[in-house]
């Protein structure tokens, strides 16, 4: 069948399936499989459907997903994060918008020890969302804050996306990591600004609801004030929290272990923390491990679906057909870059980030090289878009992770998340196009080394 027609049918089908409420992984699997059948017939299926589930899962780098989630689970069930949020809450007393800001900053710091936005988002969803809600944030906004904070792992190094890009384009991964630092912080700052905007609007738009929420919040604060946490426990929590961050940062940056291995080390340290705080028992393991397997299974099922769907997209040659439309405007690089960002933004909305990177690089890289755009800059640039894509519908793994652990509907989180995404996209990508040095300056002064 004509591939344009197939692509048209499949896009329509995807939208219908999504609206009907089909599981995301099933939407991807069904669209991918039916698309492949329409395009190539059943004969193509054995080669792609048989081995892709195994190939997708059997990856050392992806051990970060279960292990960073496990670390988060151990830390969560140790009560440490609650204690720290208790302190954060004390600090932000009377200024509730500060709690959202601090949550995003904690998301950024977690991003520096995690390569996977989804895992971080899931743990933030578990810890931060209940706190945010207690302090008067609506469910959707709290969910969006956790999703956005978690997605920061995609750009703040170490980042799986940057690693994939480095491998695919033969760009030094260490240089990419350094180059991504400033843009990563910029994304965090734009998220904070967007969060403050939504928070203000939320409290202004429905004063009655806001008042009611404020009352609940005040009650919660009063309650929290009453159930005082012993100072010694807080001290242990703070010391252990500091130790976890120090172990992971110190371990990675001193070469004791790699960013991937940090997941395992972090889990062990998390387990030790829980032991110190006296929380380890059979239930502790049951709860932590069940949640870990649930989230891992969820992410991996979607990744398998995305993989199969990505194979369909590749074979339909859709990306290069889109790109060939760009050819007439090649003399104006800024315009081409804008178009590319728009295309990527749309693709990242629909398709899992790593799949998009692998799919589009063969097509975009020649154009980028022809335009004499810096390959390192471009890598950081598309990682920014990819990070933002983690919180856009219909495929936004961060949001799904948060929705999965909190029970807040993903649709309502997306409504707010989309605002974060568009704002951050315009500001950070605009700045990066206007001032490429934001990505290239740091690697150049550090000699391109990691």
């Amino acid at each position: 069948m004509d591939s344009y027609l197939v692509v048209g049918i499949i896009i329509f089908m995807m939208i219908m399936f999504l609206l009907m409420g089909m599981y995301i992984h099933s939407v991807l699997l069904a669209s991918g499989i039916i698309g492949l059948i329409l395009l190539e017939g059943f004969s193509i299926l054995p080669g792609l459907l048989g081995n892709e589930p195994f190939n997708r899962v059997a990856s050392y780098t992806l051990t970060t997903i279960p292990l960073f989630v496990l670390m988060a689970q151990f830390i969560l069930h140790s009560g440490l994060v609650q204690d720290i949020f208790y302190i954060v809450h004390k600090i932000s007393r009377g200024r509730r918008s500060l709690l959202g800001t601090l949550t995003l900053i904690i998301g950024g710091m977690l991003g520096a020890v995690s390569g996977s936005g989804t895992a971080t988002a899931a743990s933030l969803g578990q810890v931060a969302v209940p706190e945010l809600r207690k302090h008067g944030y609506s469910g959707p906004l709290a969910g969006a804050i956790a999703s956005a904070g978690g997605s920061l792992s995609g750009i703040i190094p170490p980042s799986i996306i940057l690693i994939l890009y480095g491998v695919a384009t033969e760009t030094p991964v260490g240089a990419l990591f350094i180059g991504a630092f400033i843009p990563g912080v910029l994304v965090m700052v734009t998220f904070i600004i967007a969060m403050l905007f939504y928070y203000r609007r939320e409290t202004k738009r429905s004063p009655a609801a806001a008042e009611a929420q404020a009352e609940i919040a005040a009650a919660a604060e009063a309650e929290a004030a009453e159930e005082k946490v012993p100072v010694t426990r807080l001290a242990v929590s703070v010391i252990m929290g500091f130790l976890i961050v120090a172990t992971i940062f110190g371990g990675i940056y001193s070469g004791i272990f790699t960013p991937t291995e940090a997941g395992a080390i972090g889990s062990v340290v998390g387990l030790l923390t829980a032991l110190l705080l006296g929380k380890v028992n059979l239930n502790f393991f049951k709860a932590s491990l069940t949640e870990t397997i649930k989230l891992t299974g969820m992410v991996m099922l979607i990744m398998i679906g995305a993989q199969i769907f990505g194979r369909f997209v590749s074979l339909s040659l859709l990306p290069r057909k889109l790109i060939s439309l760009l050819e007439p405007v090649m003399d104006s690089p800024a315009l081409v870059l804008l178009l590319i960002s728009a295309i990527l933004f749309v693709m990242f909305m629909f398709i899992e980030g790593a799949a998009v990177i692998l799919m589009t690089i063969p097509v975009f890289l020649p154009i980028i090289t022809a335009l004499q755009v810096d390959v390192l800059w471009f890598g950081v640039f598309i990682s920014v878009i990819c990070t933002i894509g983690l919180i856009t519908p219909p495929v936004g793994l961060s949001v799904y992770a948060v929705s999965g652990v909190t029970g807040i509907s993903s649709g309502s989180i997306f409504k707010v998340g989309m605002g974060f995404a568009v704002f951050s996209m315009i500001v950070v990508c605009g700045l990066m196009i206007a001032f490429p040095e934001l990505a290239t300056w740091l690697p150049s002064v550090s000699g391109g080394k990691g």
């Binding site: 409420g21 599981y23 099933s26 699997l29 195994f54 899962v57 004791i256 997941g263 519908p393 649709g411």
Partner: protein, 190 residues
């Protein structure tokens, strides 16, 4: 009512199977954590790493963390979907939609089971192995966890289909009252 009791009894047995899968996944996740940590310690203290460690983790442990527990994960209702529009439909529409979605789901899953089974059988025939530290380790047995995992999910969907056919309230999960479950298991044990 007797039919439903049998239904839940069977589903109870099936639940045991899923739990076993979950336990396998959970234990392997713990092993993976200690294995990598041990490797890091060995490398830094004795400057020698576990020979073939990364290949073993990648090819054995990761699939065993993901696939055995997958049916449990699927049944737990954690998997995401867009609920925005669905919630607005009437129960009758919901029910038709669910039956339709399950049918598509089963069609897709059966294809995955079929082709991943072929892949596993093919791997057994070729004795597919992976090299690690100069040795070849058999890989094909792991391949069978994939059709097994997806077959369990097909069964889950069949339970779900039947439940939606018989009962009034349309649902995405075969939920049941825990006390009722206990009751059934107790009965089953008798």
């Amino acid at each position: 009512m007797n039919g439903m009791t049998t239904f839940y009894k069977l589903y109870g047995y099936f639940g045991v199977l899923k739990k076993i899968g979950l336990v396998i996944s959970a234990v392997v996740a713990l092993i993976m954590m200690f294995f990598i940590t041990y490797d890091v310690v060995m490398r830094n203290v004795f400057s020698s790493s576990i020979r073939g460690g990364f290949e073993i983790i990648q090819n054995y442990m990761m699939p065993l963390v993901v696939f055995p527990g997958l049916a449990y994960v699927y049944a737990s209702g954690v998997l995401p979907k867009m609920e925005l529009l669905f919630a607005k439909f009437s129960p009758a529409v919901k029910r038709i939609l669910i039956l339709f979605l399950i049918a598509i789901e089963v069609f897709i899953l059966v294809l995955v089971v079929q082709f991943s089974w072929t892949y596993a059988m093919d791997g057994m025939e070729r004795n597919t192995s992976f090299p690690a530290a100069g040795t070849l380790y058999q890989l094909w047995p792991v391949f069978f966890t994939i059709p097994a995992a997806f077959a369990l999910i097909v069964i889950e969907n069949i339970f779900l289909f039947i439940k939606n056919l018989i009962e009034k309230d349309p649902t995405f999960v075969v939920e049941y009252n825990p006390s009722e479950e206990e009751q059934i298991i107790n009965q089953a044990v008798k």
